[in-house]
Every structure is written in C-alpha cells, then in structure tokens.
C-alpha cells in the first residue's frame, strides 16, 4: 500500500500533492434523519477522488456540505490547511470550488453560452456603472471571460450549440454544458455529482475522457460521485464508500473492491444497526 501522507507520482505520471480538503468528523442531520454520521476523509491535490455508495447513502449531502449549502451539525471542513469558518455557498465558490448537480441545475431560460459565462461571475470585478455604459474595464473583462469560455467550449466540443437555449438540449448535452459551466470557473476543486447518470455507453466514454483530461491538463482536483463501478475503477485514484450515512471503506480502487463491508453493502447483506 502507498504511503498516503507524502506526495507521490501515479503510474500514469500525475503528481498527487498534499491534502487540499480535509473533512473531519462530519455529522449532518435533517430533523431526525442522520444523513451523514461522523465521516472523515480527505481529498489531495491533483487526485480524482470517488465517492460511491447506494442511493440515499448521503453522498450528495456530502458534496452539499463541501459546497457550504448544508451546514453540518458537527465536524470541521479544512481547506488548504486552514479550518474553514462558516460561509455562504457563494463564498465557497469563490475559494475555487465548482460543481455539477445530480439533477441538472442549469439556467433553463438562458443560452448555453450565457450559462457557461455564469461560471466566470467570480472573475468579474467591474462595477455596475461601468457595466451600464459597457466601456473600459467592463468591456475588457467581458472579452477576457468570453475567451476563457470559448476555450472550455472547444475543449468540451460543444461549439455548435453555443447559442441554443439550454431548455432545448437533450439530457446528455445538458450534462456536458453543466460541466462546462463548472470548468469555466477555473476551479481548484471540482465536485461532480453523478456526471454520467442516465448516459449511454458512448456518452459515458466521452465524459470519462473529459474528466481525465481536465485532471491531466489543468491539474484540477476532482471529487466525483458515480454508480458505474467500471468507470469508478478506471478513473479514480482513491475511493470513499458510504452506506446509510456511514463510511464503510476508503482506499485505492483495489482496496475497496476487496473490502468485505463494501461487498456486503453492494450485495445487499442485512445491516445490523
């Protein structure tokens, strides 16, 4: 087993660095329901970290905790070696955390281009007056943001649908646009909630390739939730396994595959809690 405290180089030559995000003893309740029970794990710079587990295990809730949308009753979130104070979701986004959603959350009334441009909002510094007359800084920023967005559009190969209202797109493309919006923000940490759910094999292959390329080319750290075990095994460096709000496994794909508790959870063995 690899030493998990030092940075190392993977087989395919990527460098995995220090711990970027550290979740410590997170507990999250909704009324009486404990969606997350005392879970700790970390995400290291440059890695692809998968979170797996059956439906209702608390995976999405975990991402929501990282995004700052859910506030856990107990536990701490450490980011870049510092304890994160309580903040609003938009402040979390400004720290360089971008994400996609399990149920696509695009802005249906806007075009693809405008949707992706919203990913650049955190880079807009010009004030309202400058924007009102559309001169100077405002115009310059708009052009810069557009250039960045066009690179993302090229990268994800969605040039042809730039001006289409997202409401009219098929499901698979919507998922891709959502990824584009997250990428446009140049995130340090990218959270993907079931990016391949409901896709056919070909679409899944495309999406896998994009995720790998993002990680490889831009060095973006990625945390992803996925049900397709094949995909998870192929993509991820390390895997967290959740079941009924508890962490039941954590390690390399091989470790996890051979973990008895994980096998039981997936085979539906009766729980004793």
């Amino acid at each position: 087993m690899k030493d998990m405290t030092e940075s190392y180089v993977t087989e395919d030559g990527r460098t995995i660095g220090d711990v970027m995000l550290d979740l410590r003893n997170i507990t999250l309740r909704f009324g009486g329901v404990e969606a997350i029970k005392d879970i700790s794990f970390d995400i290291r710079e440059g890695e692809i970290r998968a979170i797996i587990g059956p439906n209702g295990a608390g995976k999405s809730s975990m991402l929501n905790v990282i995004s700052g949308f859910y506030i856990p009753q107990e536990g701490e979130v450490w980011f870049h070696g510092r304890k994160r104070p309580q903040m609003k979701p938009y402040q979390v986004a400004r720290q360089g955390i971008a994400r996609t959603f399990q149920n696509i959350a695009l802005f249906e009334g806007m075009t693809v281009l405008d949707n992706i441009m919203t990913g650049r909002l955190n880079y807009t510094k010009s004030g309202m007056l400058a924007q009102a007359i559309w001169k100077g800084k405002a115009e310059r920023e708009e052009t810069e943001n557009r250039e960045k967005v066009e690179r993302v559009i090229d990268f994800l190969e969605i040039q042809a649908i730039r001006k289409t209202p997202v409401g009219r797109l098929p499901y698979g493309l919507k998922k891709r646009v959502e990824l584009a919006r997250a990428l446009a923000a140049d995130p340090k940490l990218l959270l993907l909630d079931e990016p391949m759910a409901g896709m056919n094999v070909e679409e899944k292959e495309d999406m896998s390739r994009f995720i790998l390329d993002v990680n490889d080319e831009f060095g973006t750290t990625i945390a992803l939730i996925e049900h397709d075990m094949g995909v998870v095994m192929d993509l991820s460096d390390r895997v967290v396994v959740m079941d009924y709000g508890k962490k039941i496994g954590d390690g390399t794909p091989d470790d996890v595959r051979n973990n008895q508790a994980v096998i039981d959870a997936y085979l539906g063995v009766a729980h004793d809690d």
Partner: protein, 358 residues
C-alpha cells in the same frame, strides 16, 4: 431574402456580443432612432403626443424597469405604482426646493431616490419568494400611496392635496408646465427612453444580467456556483426602481403636470405595467416597448372602434377593454410566455428564410 444573417460572420467576441449582432437589425435601429429624433418632432401634434407618444415613452421606461426585476431577475413586483409615485413626489419636492437646478437632473435624482426606496422594499426578497414576495410588494404599493396622501409635507401643504409641476425650461424651452410645446415634452421623454434602454441593454447582456437571470432560473444553484443572492436581488430592485422612478417623475412633471397620488399611482398602475411586460415579453427590452405600445394603443383603438364607429357608450367599451386585456394576459401566459417579442422573433425567422422556407 428580406432579412439576412448569412454572410455576417463575427471576427471577434466584441462584435458577437454587441447589442444588435446582425447588421440589418443595426441599420433598422439607427433608422428608428433617426426618425424618432429628427422626423417625429416636426409632425407631432398635441393629440398624438398626449394620447399616444408620451404615455408610450414613459410607460416604456417603467416597463423596462419592471422587466429587469420580473423578467430578468424573476422577482414579481406589484408595487410599480407606488414606486412611480416615489419618483413623482421626489421630483416635485426637488423641483420646488431647488428651482434653479436643471429639471433633467431632478428627474435623474428622483430615479436615484426611488432606487433607494425600492432597495429597502426589496430587502424581504432575501427571505420570501414567488407570490409571497409579489404580495409583500403590495405593502409598498399601499403604504407609499397612503404616505403621499396623508403627509402634507410631500405636497407642500397644498389645499387640494395635489402636486403641480411648475414651469421649468431646458435650453430656454419650457418642458414642464402649461406652456410646454408638444415636441419639447416628447424630446425630453425620448432622450430618457433612449438612455434607459441602452443602460438596460448593457446591464442585461453583461455579468450583472447573468446574475439576475441565474437567480431567476434557479436561485439555489446560482448561489452555489457563486452568485451572491443578496447583491443580485438588491441590484435588481435598485436598477428597476431607478427606471420606474424616472418614469414616475416624467409621468408627473412632463406628461400630466398635476397629480393626485391615489388616482395616478394606484394599484391599477402596478397591474398595467405588469401586463405590459407579460404581453410584450418577459425578459426582453424590446418586449417592454412592444407591451407599452400595445397597451397604450389598445384603449385608443377600442374607443375608435367602439365609441366613434359603433356608437357604443364609453363604459361599455371600458368593460370590453377589461375582458380583452384579461384574455390577452391569459393567452400570452398559456401560448407565448415570451410575449410579442417572441412573436416578432418568430416572424423574423420566417422572413430570414423567405422565400426559401427550407
């Protein structure tokens, strides 16, 4: 082909995000502006100004304002009448307190004051949403009208409780008061409409507009990807109220000249402007103009047909107007939520292909 997009390639992102990306639209825009500024003033009569042009221009500003709040930022307001009243009374107080300052500056300041008031009434939008908020904005409507009615400081203690616009000039020509020539009041309103439309267009196609629309389409996701909802909603209220305030100031000072608050800025005004943007098209600057034009013309046309042609009594025509407006609102919400603006776009798409439909 009457309408061409082909062959009009963009070579830069600047060109692509301009107001009218298609050259043909750009030409038409300049032609419309030229006619509005250089031709219409020579032909304008008191009747066309008062029955059609002035209300059209002034309501367009209000509709642009409400469309920013409702069409772009998704916050329905039923307080437009009350905010127009703020603009009107602010303008009146400024005009009478500082008679030497140019009236145009007063109108802009009135817009600013309304923006402040609107922002204050927008604060609850951070906690309450949808029609809860719509109903909450009625609080602004009723409270403001009551305030201007009861607190005599606002109408300078006049016995009638009305406010009257004293004569003010721009470049030596009267633009308010009874001696104003029709072309002068028209030009003042036109200048404001043009400026407001440009500002609105710039704001909505840029970063701020995207924040507004993101909040409108999915507020939670917007916040998670980095939109500060407080800032997005309050700027929408501020910008929207700024325009509505300007329109209220012009409505009072330039158009009516004398105003009684309950009559001029009652809840029906709020509905009227809301209807304009529903019929014209939610989330479209052009739609604000289309809706304003439509609802300003409708009573005039109905009166022409009903009273002058068919000889019906006026109250009967007024009842018909209610029925027609109600039907239109329901029709557009069911069939074409993007209103006349979308119908226009579809018509253009047909034209673009004509005469080769496929």
């Amino acid at each position: 082909m009457l309408y061409r997009e082909a062959g009009d390639f963009k070579t830069s992102y600047v060109a692509d995000s301009q107001t009218f990306p298609i050259a043909f639209d750009r030409y038409r825009y300049w032609v419309v502006l030229a006619v509005a500024f250089l031709v219409v003033p020579f032909f304008i009569t008191d009747y066309t100004a008062n029955a059609l042009l002035l209300p059209f221009l002034i309501y367009s500003i209000a509709a642009i304002g409400l469309n920013i709040l409702t069409g772009y930022a998704g916050q329905v307001s039923l307080g437009t009448g009350g905010f127009m009243a703020v603009g009107a009374y602010a303008c009146y107080k400024l005009m009478t307190a500082f008679p030497d300052v140019n009236i145009l500056i007063h109108v802009i300041l009135a817009g600013g004051i309304t923006a402040a008031v609107g922002t204050a009434f927008g604060l609850p939008s951070l906690r309450i949403k949808g029609f809860y908020l719509a109903v909450a904005t009625l609080a602004a409507q009723f409270f403001l009208v009551w305030l201007f009615n009861k607190v005599s400081w606002f109408y300078n203690y006049s016995a009638s409780g009305q406010i009257n616009a004293p004569e003010r000039t721009v470049l030596g020509v009267a633009v308010t008061g009874p001696n104003t020539p029709a072309w002068a009041s028209y030009l003042v309103c036109l200048v404001f409409v043009t400026a407001c439309a440009l500002i609105a267009r710039n704001l909505t196609r840029g970063a701020l507009g995207r924040q507004w629309m993101a909040i409108r389409d999915m507020d939670i996701a917007a916040e998670i990807i980095g939109v500060n909802p407080l800032k997005a909603k309050l700027t929408a209220f501020a910008v929207s109220s700024f325009f509505v305030g300007i329109s209220g100031a012009l409505f009072f000072a330039v158009y009516l000249g004398a105003v009684e608050v309950g009559e001029a800025f009652g809840i029906n005004k709020s509905f009227l402007v809301l209807f304009m943007i529903i019929i014209g098209g939610l989330g479209s600057i052009f739609g604000a103009f289309a809706g304003a034009a439509f609802l300003v013309c409708l009573p005039v046309v109905l009166k022409l047909i009903g009273v002058d042609l068919l000889g019906w009594p006026t109250d009967l025509v007024a009842h018909f107007q209610l029925v027609i407006v109600g039907l239109l609102i329901m029709f557009f919400l069911v069939k074409e939520p993007h209103g006349l603006a979308q119908l226009w776009r579809l018509a253009k798409e047909k034209l673009r292909l004509w005469p080769f439909p496929h």
